[in-house]
């Protein structure tokens, strides 16, 4: 645990981790990132609490995008934005590597709990926290190349086409040029690097996950970093000119439109040239998927920016946003904590019924166990985040 995480910065004093929100000449803390994270976490906790997930809502079995597929990529995009805030001035390599190592170790422990297995040879070596660790490392290293939004936009373009190249060139070896569960580059690569158990042709639910997915997620993170650096740059100019957050509307929308155009370009250039399919899908974290989500996330950030990042803040907006900001400040804890908690609660009680179902049945109000259970979990994580926020406690490696 540490002092307030530097993934949310105050423009005039980004290096000051103990900064507390208060009006200043140079502006106030950029709260929109926490606000957007807060909404993402509300969605995440809600989705995780669902006891019987309808198939149309759950992760797509392969091709396509279902609602649950949106949560983690939004988290990754917002993380890219947060990392841009944190690394806008400088990149401290040693603390960065320490953070990566801790995240990776936590990820393995997290997978052991979720998989309910101590057999290391069955663990998801590139599970979600490890993927996040890899992104932190890569985004940190890429900040040694550029710290401008234009530079990050260029990186996003390079990575989007790099990932698209990998998938489309490989797809030329697949029957009819279609990437399937049996024919995609993740299968041979991740089996080689991490073991055959990493690729179960989509049957394991989380797979494929590995280097191909990490590269796709890096597109999301770099798009998020682009948004973060853009917000900082626009904010800097707005403060200097004495203007408000509305200054960000045009540039933010322009960049989000750029993401959509880039998604279209990745869909219509190499795939058609090579005569293959590039699906918009989560499982392979394709570039158009990452970019479309980044565009939507950018709009959410912009909305938060316009509503919250002003001095003085609108009281009518600020007060009800407090729980969201608290959640957002402890996003790692709530995101992964809620996953671990639900993993534990999904295990069956001695009578074979999952513990979560038992609890839901026991506390059901108005005959609505699912609704009551979801509200209970949301209340639990929100109260926890608010308490921690009030005490200035933020969980980060």
């Amino acid at each position: 645990m540490s002092a307030p995480e530097p993934t949310s910065v105050e423009v005039s004093s980004a290096a000051d981790p103990d900064f507390t929100p208060q009006p200043k000449r140079a502006g106030v803390r950029i709260a929109s990132l926490d606000w957007a994270r807060g909404w993402m976490l509300v969605a995440s906790v809600t989705v995780n609490s669902i006891l019987v997930m309808p198939s149309w809502f759950d992760h797509a079995t392969w091709n396509g995008v279902n609602p649950v597929d949106l949560i983690f990529p939004v988290f990754v995009t917002l993380s890219g934005c947060g990392l841009a805030f944190a690394m806008a001035r400088t990149v401290k390599v040693v603390p960065l590597l320490r953070r990566v190592a801790v995240l990776f170790a936590l990820g393995l422990a997290y997978n052991a709990i979720v998989e309910w297995s101590l057999d290391v040879f069955t663990w998801r070596i590139t599970g979600v926290l490890q993927l996040y660790a890899a992104l932190v490392a890569l985004v940190g290293l890429l900040h040694l190349v550029t710290k401008t939004w234009q530079g990050w936009a260029a990186i996003t373009v390079v990575l989007a086409f790099a990932h698209t190249s990998l998938l489309t060139v490989y797809a030329t070896t697949c029957p009819a040029g279609v990437l399937t569960r049996a024919c995609n580059p993740s299968g041979p690569l991740d089996a080689l690097l991490f073991g055959a158990h990493m690729q179960a042709q989509g049957i394991a639910g989380h797979d494929p996950e590995g280097v191909v997915t990490i590269l796709g997620a890096l597109v999301s993170a770099s798009a998020g970093a682009t948004l973060g650096h853009l917000m900082l740059a626009v904010r800097r100019r707005a403060v200097a000119a004495g203007r408000g957050p509305a200054t960000a509307i045009a540039p933010m929308l322009a960049v989000c439109t750029g993401f959509v155009i880039l998604a279209g370009a990745t869909l219509t250039t190499l795939p058609i040239l090579l005569g293959v399919q590039l699906p918009v899908m989560k499982r392979l974290w394709t570039a158009p998927f990452a970019l479309l989500i980044a565009a939507g996330t950018g709009v959410l950030l912009l909305l938060g920016h316009v509503l919250l990042d002003r001095a003085p803040a609108w009281r009518v907006i600020e007060a009800p946003s407090y729980p969201l900001l608290a959640l957002g400040r402890n996003s790692l804890l709530v995101y992964f904590g809620s996953h671990i908690l639900m993993s534990l609660l999904r295990h069956p009680a001695p009578d074979g019924v999952p513990i979560a179902q038992r609890i839901a049945d026991a506390i059901a109000l108005f005959g609505r166990p699912q609704l009551t259970f979801t509200l209970l979990l949301l209340a639990f994580w929100t109260v926890l985040a608010v308490v921690l926020h009030r005490r200035g406690i933020y969980v980060r490696p």
């Binding site: 990998l166 029957p175 279609v178 024919c183 058609i272």
Partner: protein, 324 residues
Amino acid sequence: MRPWLRWTLLVAIVAAVVGGMTLTATALTPATRTIDVLVVPHPDDEFQTWSLVEGRSHEYKVFAVMTHGEETGYCDEDLLDAALQAEQGEIVPSPAPAGRWSAECEAARQAAFLGFLSQMSESDPTIPGDFAPAAQVHGPVESDGTPICRVDDGTTRCDDAVRQVDVWLDARDRGAVVFFDLGDGDAALDEIAWALRSLVAHGTEWGLPDAPIGPMIGAFANDGRPCHSYPHPDHVAVHMALWHVDFGVGPQLGATCFLDSRQRMSAVVSPAGLDAAFALAGDGTRIGAHGRHYGWLHNEVYPLAPSGQSELFMPFQSFWIRFN
């Protein structure tokens, strides 16, 4: 380090990593042979999927033709005489068609289809084209409760003969042609689903290799979108079957308009493939396989969309994808 050097290094590293990943993944992928099924309503529709057919050496290609094409008016003597331009290189149908729905008409259309593939295989050795003169006849295949009938000039036939399957196997093991007899102009969704289920179930009995079936790719259909309009009921039925029925094999595709909201991939027929099918000599003589073998089924030179999708036959082909 100077900015341009940093960027150069970054791009070089990304290219090296992605290139290495691509090469490694490709090298580690075993060359597994799969069966591609091209679902063709009539024996002249196959070029509508050609971009996904040509040049694929690892894929055994099965042309599953749903009808014998017996309803064409060009099997009538007067229309045939008007359409056939033998002096322009169009091959005279054999046997001579004896009118719509006649056995000779069916045989002539089957022969034209086999002739087309044979000629295409001369320039693209991955195409099956080395066929025995006579088909292997299998069946009648069990109907599984699905009424399998064909309607000839208002007369409905549901006898065992329509559940027989004519199979030609390529002597060089590159593919096969499987003719069903679901009735030109009246092939229905259920009948096509039955045919494809039968192919999956009995393929090895009919001489197809014991390999996993990969994609099933349907010929073009389109209605109401600004491409070539082709709402032919047999084509629509093929699309309906591939869209709605999961045959439990690889992905199921249908050739469609690029502007179809369901469109998920597009591919272009190679110049060599295009030439092999549609080339004309300077004086208009048909050189390409399509013009030569199917010329008798069209009054003029077959129109080919130059770049877009304004004609039934187009080098730029788009597809929707289901069950992947």
